[in-house]
Each structure stands twice: as C-alpha cells, then as structure tokens.
C-alpha cells in the first residue's frame, strides 16, 4: 500500500508557499461563488450539485483508502444512513415546527453517519487489508439487506421522501430553487474539504499514514493500529453522512439504493480514478466520474461497460490515478525535458486511439446484434452512423484493433525510452520526483 500513496500530505513549507496555499482555497471559494453566473441553466446547476456531493463523498472515502490504507467496499452505508437520517430529520422538523434551518440538516446526516460508523466500524477495523475489505463488504450487505426488512424506517423499495421547503427560511431563502441548493452544497463542500484537509495535518492524520505504511512500527511506538483505523473509519463515516444528507436534500428522497453496493462501487471508482495519493485526487476523480457518467450515458447504451474497462485500464497502467499520472511529470516539467516526452506521447496517441476506436466499434456492433437484435442495423453510437450488419464493418473493427495494437506497442516502447532519458536528464539536473 505504501507505494500507492507516498505523498498524501506533504509538509507545509516556507511562507511563500503558505500564501499560495491559502490563495488556492480562496480561489476555490470564489470559483464556487461565480459558477452559477457563468453556467446558469438548471441542468448544469444540478450537475454541479451532484459533483459537489460526490466530492465530499470521495474525499471522505480517501480518509480510508488513501490516508489510512483501508479498502472499503461498503462506504455507501454511512452515506445512505446519513441520507435517511436527514430525510427523517427534515420530516420531524417540519411536523414539530422546530427552529432548525435547512443548512444545518447535513449535520444531522453527518452525526448519524458518525454514530453508525462507530457501531459498525469496531469489528471490521480489527483487521487490515484484504480481510478488512471483505468484512466491510459483509457489513454493507448486512445493512443493505436489513434496509428492506425494516420498512418503517427505510420505506421499503419506494424509499422515504421529504419536502425541503417546509423548513425555516434563512435570509429569505426557502431552498426551493436549484441555485439555492447549489450554494448550500457548495458551502458544505468547501467546509468539508477544508475540514478534511485540516485532518490530514493533525498528528492523528499522520498516525493514519503511519498505520497505512507500517502498522507494526506504529505498535512499537505505542499506538494501537486498531484504534487509529477505527477513528479514521468514524471520521470517514461522518463526512460520508454529510454527503448523503446533501444528496437527500437535493433529491428530497432517500431509498435503499443510497446504501447499496453500486453506490459503494461508484465512490471507489471516483476516488481511485482521481488518485488516492494526493488530497486533490478524489476531487478530480469526483468531477471526472460524475461528468463522465452523465456524458457517456447520453452517447451509448452500454456506457457502464466503457466505465468498467476504463477503470481496469487505470488500475493496470496508472495506479496513481489521474493526479498520480500528472504528478509523475513534475520533475520533467521543472527540468525542461518535458518536450521530448510530450512529442513521444503525441506519436503514440495516434495508434492507441485507433485501437480504442476499433474496440468501441467492435463493442457497438456486438451490442447492435444482441441488445437491439432484430432492429434496423443502421445505428449510431458516439454520434457516428454505421451499418452493423455489413461484413465490411466487422473487418474494419478487427483491422483497427489489431493494427492499432501492433503499432501502439512499438510506439509505447519508444515512449518508455524517451521517458527514461528525460527522467535521467531531470535527475542529473537535481529534480527528483
């Protein structure tokens, strides 16, 4: 696990960096404030809200995976329970006319996430690595199946709904319009991100990293790895609960899908694709995956297949995720040797894209013959029209895949050579990764 995530939180250095550091948070805040003025349509605001929720959720997941080295397959449990608590909380507040405004509701979700993480977390966190992953999966299945039995709390298949506008208005906002929800989500996203970043700087955050890298040594120093894992689990549950409550507020409904395996899988995908080694990784992953799933589902019917294949490709070729991949180039950029590598990339990109195009074509032909069997073979995927029944298209797909693969393999070898040379030059100049 240590090789995955070496620099989850680099030490704070000199004062100029401090200005840069605080500046980036302020810039983020200004960007969040300004976004609705640039993209004001309802659809894009909804997308932004979803992305914000996903960012909190993924960051909370990275407390486990990136910071403490715990691979959980059941993180959606705390997200979902936070969502249900928020819905019940909203209904209670509305019925009893309690003086609690909507912006405080995510806190209800967070506290219930914390509460359930404390209950369910003690047993799984006794173990680490594979055993932890499997036990977290079992606990998740336990809760997900129970949610269908305890109908009065979870509402069965249909779920439970609430009306967010029935709560106390704040400064004249009743949180009906999408833009007000956007600002609510943006506020909590920024607050949670700052809080979770601060958590990585505390001694506790450092002990989490230590447990991830070498639990035995942690024991020698006098800490109990189990307790540290448990505390990290609780923090992760708290922030996941906040994310779930925001989702519940956004949709005004919570159902069993919130805490199911699919939801746990999505947050794992987002976090890992973004990169678990850097704090910003899950943020990028959340933006990327949310946007990708919305965009791909418009383009093709089998977008989940592409999504899964993309994930496998990331695991195989870029285990550091997107941020890890980008950060690998930092010494090259600094040493000024980036150009040769970039040129090699551009050359290798042509056959690689050819191969991918062939693969996509092949998949779409098969889809046309199985899912849409008996329909008009003239079809359209990714905006391209083709006739899935003609043998020519089969030939084309095969040729693209095989030809692309052969050329791409040679090209990537060349890239690897260019990379080694560039990195060596960078090292000689004193720029290390």
């Amino acid at each position: 696990m240590s090789d995955l995530s070496k620099v989850a939180a680099p030490p704070l250095s000199i004062s100029s960096n401090k200005v840069c550091f605080h500046g980036s948070w302020i810039a983020a805040a200004i960007a969040l404030l300004a976004l609705p003025y640039i993209f004001s349509s309802g659809g894009s605001l909804t997308t932004f809200s979803l992305i914000g929720i996903s960012i909190i959720f993924s960051l909370s997941y990275n407390i486990l995976l990136g910071q403490t080295g715990m691979l959980s397959f059941g993180h959606a449990v705390y997200y979902g329970l936070g969502g249900f608590a928020a819905i019940h909380g909203m209904n209670l507040i509305a019925t009893f006319k309690l003086p609690v405004p909507l912006p405080l509701v995510p806190l209800i979700g967070g506290i219930s996430g914390l509460f359930f993480a404390a209950i369910f977390g003690w047993v799984p966190t006794r173990r680490s690595r594979t055993a932890f992953a499997m036990i977290s999966l079992g606990v998740a299945e336990l809760v997900a199946s129970s949610s269908l039995i305890l109908r009065s709390f979870f509402g069965g298949e249909a779920g439970i709904s609430a009306n967010r506008t029935k709560l106390l208005p704040v400064f004249g906002w009743n949180f009906g319009p999408e833009v007000q929800i956007y600002y609510l989500v943006a506020f909590w996203t920024l607050l949670s991100a700052i809080a979770m970043y601060a958590l990585t700087r505390t001694p506790f955050g450092r002990m989490c990293n230590a447990v991830r890298d070498n639990p035995e040594r942690v024991q020698f120093v006098g800490y109990d790895p189990h307790v540290i894992r448990f505390l990290a689990f609780c923090f992760a549950g708290f922030f996941a609960g906040i994310a779930g409550a925001l989702a519940a507020i956004n949709f005004e409904i919570a159902n069993a899908a919130y805490l199911g395996a699919a939801q746990s899988g999505v947050v794992l995908f987002a976090t890992y694709i973004g990169g678990v080694g850097y704090f910003i990784g899950p943020i990028i992953g959340a933006i990327f995956v949310t946007y990708l799933s919305l965009a791909l589902s418009d383009l093709t019917t089998v977008w989940q297949l592409y999504f899964g294949l993309f994930f496998i490709a990331v695991v195989m070729f870029a285990p550091g995720g997107i941020t890890g991949l980008l950060m690998k180039h930092r010494p090259l950029v600094r040493a000024g040797t980036m150009f040769t590598v970039l040129r090699a990339y551009l050359v290798a990109l042509v056959p690689t894209l050819t191969m991918i195009a062939g693969l996509i074509l092949g998949i779409e032909i098969v889809v046309q013959h199985t899912i849409n069997a008996g329909e008009d073979p003239h079809t359209k995927a990714f905006g391209v029209h083709f006739n899935a029944a003609s043998p020519l298209i089969w030939l084309l797909a095969t040729a693209l895949v095989i030809g692309g693969f052969v050329v791409a393999r040679a090209a990537w070898r060349w890239v690897a050579k260019a990379w080694d040379e560039a990195l060596n030059t960078a090292r000689e100049k004193g720029f290390h990764a």
């Binding site: 696990m1 090789d3 995955l4 995976l65 080295g69 691979l71 397959f73 047993v123 006794r126 173990r127 680490s128 690595r129 594979t130 055993a131 992953a133 499997m134 036990i135 999966l137 079992g138 606990v139 299945e141 336990l142 199946s145 129970s146 039995i149 305890l150 109908r151 009065s152 709390f153 395996a261 899988g265 794992l268 890992y272 089998v302 989940q304 297949l305 899964g308 294949l309 994930f311 496998i312 695991v315 195989m316 285990p319 098969v366 889809v367 199985t370 899912i371």
Partner: protein, 315 residues
C-alpha cells in the same frame, strides 16, 4: 418436523458443498497469489451461462466438460495478462483489478444474455425424483449435484495431498521462492492454479445453473456470501473454508424453512408492539431474515475470533 430436518439437511449440505467448490478455489488462489479474487463469483456465473449456451447446442454433458474448460482458460488468461501485470502495483491494485473485472463481466453478460433469467433446464436424463421421503420428492438432479461436488472435493483432496503436483502447489503456497530455486516455474504454477480455481467455480455454475436461477445478477448475489465463507473460515485456510461453507449452507437453508418470528414466540405473553420500527423487528420471520444471517454470523464470529475460525496469520 422430521421431514423438514432431513430435507433441509440435505439441501444445506448440497448448498454448502457448492459454496465449498468455489471457496476452495478462492482460498488456494488467495494463499498462493495473495489476491482475493473478487471476480470469483463472476466465473461461477460465466460457467452457468456457458453451460446454458453449450447445452442448447450440444446437450448438457458436453457443457459440463467444455464450460469449465472455457472459464478456466479465461481465468488463466486473466492471471497471465492482467494480474501478473498489476502485481507490481500492490495488493490494493490487484484487488481492485478483480473488482473491475467482476463489474465488466456482469455488464458483458447483461449485454449478451440480457437481464432476465435464461431458460437453463435440468437435463432430461436426470429429470426425475430420486427418492421420496415423507411424501416429498427429492429431485435426482440435486443428488447429482451433491455427487459431483463431493467427487470433486475428494479428487482435490487426493490431488493436493498425494500427487507430486499437489506437493509442489502446497510448497509454493508458503515458500514460492524456494520452489522457484528448485527449478519449478512458479509463474506457470500460479497461472495453472488460477485457471483450475476459476474452472472449479465454473463447474459449480454449470451444475447450479439449472437448479437455481441463471441470471446476470447471480454473481452479485453469491459473491458476498462467498467472501463471508472465506473470512469466517479464516483467510487462506482450506479446512476453515470447508467448515464455514457447510455451516453457512446449513444455517441458511434451515433459516429459509422456518417461519417463526419474535411475535409468534412471545406473542402469547401479550407484549404487542405499537411502535412501528419495533413492530418491524417483532413481526419479521426467520425466513425473511435468511439472506442476512450469513452476515450476522460473520460479525458474531469475528467478534470472538478476529482471524476467523481457522485463520492463523494476519494477511
């Protein structure tokens, strides 16, 4: 009641043996490669669908032979071209690779065979009641399933304990480097073990497909239970996996056939509950909570034995 006990025991042992068919492959792969193959249940599903497709064209018996072979070949390819590559990226990457694979296999099966169950039938030769106990006909196919899984279990046991190959595999479990130094191709052993393990899962799929439902969510339904089995038994322990398989098979089968609830047991005492959440717990029958019993069992056992029943080392 006796009838219920006999039938449930038979079904429970059958279900447990099926679980062990898969758990054994999973355990051996885990001890050798250090990877818990998240896609193991997906190979079970592939086995069932291959079995369905082949038996449609050539009949059940060729399917029983060819389908595990196919699945085993795919498994070996996955190890050779996928896992071996990912290995250098660490354990998390390996587990996530198989996780992604499980996801992709499910989507592919959905694309090819659709989401609804396929019509995978018991072969005509075995479609008769084997015997009748207390007016219940016990189907011959279930006896056949039991026979196949017990036969494979015995064959596996003999192969591991008595043959030369088995000895090498056992040695490679604990001391892969030493086995390599002795001149054995450890990489190839790993690939073979992965292939055989996935083929065993596929056998389970071929014979379970007609009895249970052959559907694109069967991996998703069985996978978590399979992991519960290996965790409860103790990761990497074959004996533990065997006991846990039978335990969970029996417990779940018995739970399904029971109709009692807290209300029916304590109802006469007049402790009626009006609070809705408590009423839910009060009125739920044991049969209804059967799906969560394996997970409850896991939590309870891990509370007292964090390493599982026969687990020894922290892995």
């Amino acid at each position: 009641v006796l009838e219920l006990i006999v039938i449930s025991t038979l079904n429970g042992v059958l279900y447990g043996m099926l679980l062990f068919l898969m758990a054994s492959g999973l355990t051996v792969i885990f001890s050798m490669l250090g990877v818990l193959n998240f896609a193991h249940a997906s190979f079970y599903m592939l086995g069932a669908f291959f079995g369905f497709e082949i038996s449609r064209w050539f009949g059940f018996w060729p399917a029983l032979l060819v389908s595990p072979l196919l699945a085993g070949l795919i498994g070996a390819a996955v190890e050779r071209y996928g896992l071996r590559r990912v290995h250098k990226n660490g354990h998390v990457a390996e587990l996530l690779y198989t996780f992604g694979l499980a996801f992709v296999i499910e989507v592919v099966v959905e694309i090819i065979w659709g989401k609804s169950p396929v019509d995978y039938r018991v072969p005509r030769l075995l479609d008769f009641p084997a015997f009748t106990i207390f007016s219940t006909n016990y189907p011959a196919f279930k006896m056949f399933m039991l026979l196949v899984s017990v036969a494979i279990f015995l064959a596996l046991l003999i192969a591991l304990k008595k043959t030369r190959v088995g000895l090498i595999v056992q040695a490679a479990l604990t001391h892969p480097h030493m086995v390599g130094h002795l001149g054995h191709n450890v990489d190839r052993i790993f690939m073979m073990v992965f292939g055989v393990g996935t083929a065993l899962a596929a056998v389970a799929g071929v014979i379970a497909g007609p009895a249970l439902q052959t559907q694109s969510n069967m991996a998703e339904l069985l996978g978590p239970i399979l992991f519960v089995v290996v965790v409860v038994g103790g990761l990497g322990s074959l004996r533990g996996a065997f006991i846990a398989s039978l335990l969970i098979g029996l417990v779940q089968t018995f739970a399904v056939s029971m109709n009692g609830s807290l209300a029916s047991i304590f109802g006469p005492l007049g402790l009626g509950n009006t609070q809705p959440l408590l009423a839910d717990i009060w009125n739920v029958t044991i049969a209804q909570i059967a799906p969560i019993i394996p997970y409850l069992l896991m939590v309870v056992i891990l509370l007292f034995r964090p390493m599982g029943l026969f687990g020894t080392r922290e892995s």
